[in-house]
Symmetry: C2
Subunit: 333 residues, 2 copies
């Protein structure tokens, strides 16, 4: 686990989009974000206090999280000056960048001297077991998509947020680097060695109270030729009791695969249930989450209604309208 709370390092992010990891932390775990740190020329602002390292430390922050994509894959000297100073003060560093903190000799040396840890969340830090397929106590919900990047992480976070608001027992279980940085822990599933994928998901979602729900972050799609194996391991390792279908209605082809069209929601429902029943015969599809960001309010409402009428399942955009109805459907299980 990454020590919380965080100071969010935005560096010299060119624009708001480059700071989406920091924005995700601030949106979903504001209690984890005591402030932001920006360098001259930074074009991003996640809307929290600008703090110096010392102010952040005094406010309780214990990790500096790199909440930004870096330019050209290089950790620049201007970043390093701040990061090395932070290590010396007793902060850990955490990053989801492709180029790893641990590959930077000066950061490694500074961390060693200070006795601090560099958390590269793209890299597994645990030797995961082979999955044993045994039934676990507690309940699990997984979002499966017609495609990658269809809103699965957002759906899980929104359902978890709604359940916590209602005082229910709920945990979001990240399987990608953004989710791991938001919550402070998880499994970077796309970087796990093939034989241990399902075991890593079992490890992530252990026995729990019978009325506790894990919201497992979905990845890829059973219909995505590049990543379907990762999704399969999520379904079989996760043993979901409930599935949510995630969809982005304006996509014209599978992400990164211009020659592949998207499956229908009906095909997604049928294949997901068929596969999930191998590990849990009682699994149900409880609702549909549609990412309507590219639609107007009217278009979005029409789209949601059409899908709800057709599929006979609660259909919402949790970003636009909240996850209440999805949580209601979980409760009704």
């Amino acid at each position: 686990m990454i020590p919380t709370p965080y100071l969010l390092f935005l560096g010299d992010a060119p624009d708001q989009l480059a700071a989406k990891v920091a924005q995700g932390i601030k949106d979903w775990r504001p209690e984890n974000a005591v402030g932001q740190f920006r360098l001259p020329g930074c074009g991003a602002d996640v809307g929290i206090d600008d703090l110096t390292l010392q102010e952040a430390w005094d406010a309780g922050a214990r990790t500096v999280v790199i909440g930004v994509a870096n330019r050209g894959g290089i950790i620049s000297q201007s970043w390093k000056d701040v990061l090395i100073e932070a290590l010396g003060m007793g902060f850990d560093l955490a990053s989801g960048l492709h180029n790893l903190l641990r590959d930077e000799n000066d950061l490694v040396a500074a961390a060693r001297v200070a006795g601090q840890t560099l958390h590269d969340v793209r890299i597994p830090s645990v030797a995961y077991p082979i999955a044993n397929g045994l039934k676990r106590t507690g309940k699990r919900c997984l979002a499966v998509g017609t495609d990658c990047s269809a809103g699965k992480m957002y759906t899980g976070l929104a359902m978890d947020g709604e359940m916590r608001k209602r005082g229910m027992k709920s945990t979001f279980r990240p399987t990608g680097q953004t989710g791991i940085l938001i919550t402070g822990g998880g499994v970077p599933l796309d970087a796990v060695v093939a034989d241990f994928m399902a075991g890593a998901v079992e490890y992530l979602t252990p026995d729990n109270d019978e009325d506790h729900w894990d919201h497992i972050e979905g990845q890829g799609s059973l219909f995505h030729a590049s990543y379907s194996g990762v999704t399969m391991a999520l379904v079989h390792g996760g043993q979901p009791d409930a599935l949510v279908l995630a969809h982005e209605p304006t996509r014209t082809h599978m992400r990164g695969l211009p020659t592949y069209s998207l499956p229908t929601l009906e095909a997604l429902r049928d294949l997901s249930l068929q596969v999930a029943r191998v590990v849990n015969p009682d699994v149900k599809v409880i609702g549909i989450s549609v990412n309507t960001q590219h639609l107007s309010e009217d278009e979005a409402n029409a789209c949601l209604k059409e899908i709800e009428d057709r599929m006979g399942l609660p259909t919402v955009d949790p970003f636009r309208h909240g996850a209440d109805r999805l949580v209601d459907a979980l409760v009704a299980l």
Copy 2:
């Protein structure tokens, strides 16, 4: 690729079973095996000439393959004496052992001095791409199983052998360490990082002549909770034109999963086709391969007939009766 042909190192194998990798090489690629090397007390014999290192070198061998499981996971000093001498003579070493050659400092040093290579075939040696899902030229056949260890590698090797015998264009494409050692190359799929699994299979089965068949070694099972993600990546990365269903009829539960029963061959057929159609709408199931090693001749024949009548597909045990009928079915496609 591992330089061929090989000298098969049996060491002090306690019995024949411990030498099954060497036996596989001798059975499937006898032209790759110029001889065997046994230490005092060796209880295995794959039925080829015992050669000294010098005799093997003179006969053309260029790699010493560790064709045996070692005891207690340790590469003993008696093995090392031979292996270091071999490196000094100009042999490469190849191994599928869990404990790696590259982790033995004395072997690494000897290889460096001699300018030879240590091939640990359990570890990927290539940075595989992300799968692009593009249609490739040539034909591909994949065996999918009701369970792990149901005879999928044997089926692929037998079909490849039969096609070569008929003068057809055919290549066996290994995805596990035994297969890689048999042929000298392949992808150790269970050790590939999740995101690159399907891309590794695409890499393994590139464009080819239109009348060429790749026989892709199957792994795991779509119904195996521990390894289904690996199988999924094989199906989507492999883009099979033909599927063979592999089954071991005496299995009482999924291998390693005592709480899971096996799927029916009907369920395997239906799910495999559904999943494979994502990447190739024209995929067909062309036959069934049954591993009848635990049945008498009468029992085996009855079992094969029952399955063939029920499923309406050519059903054989390729070990007992050859792969002719499976290849006939491929040709008829």
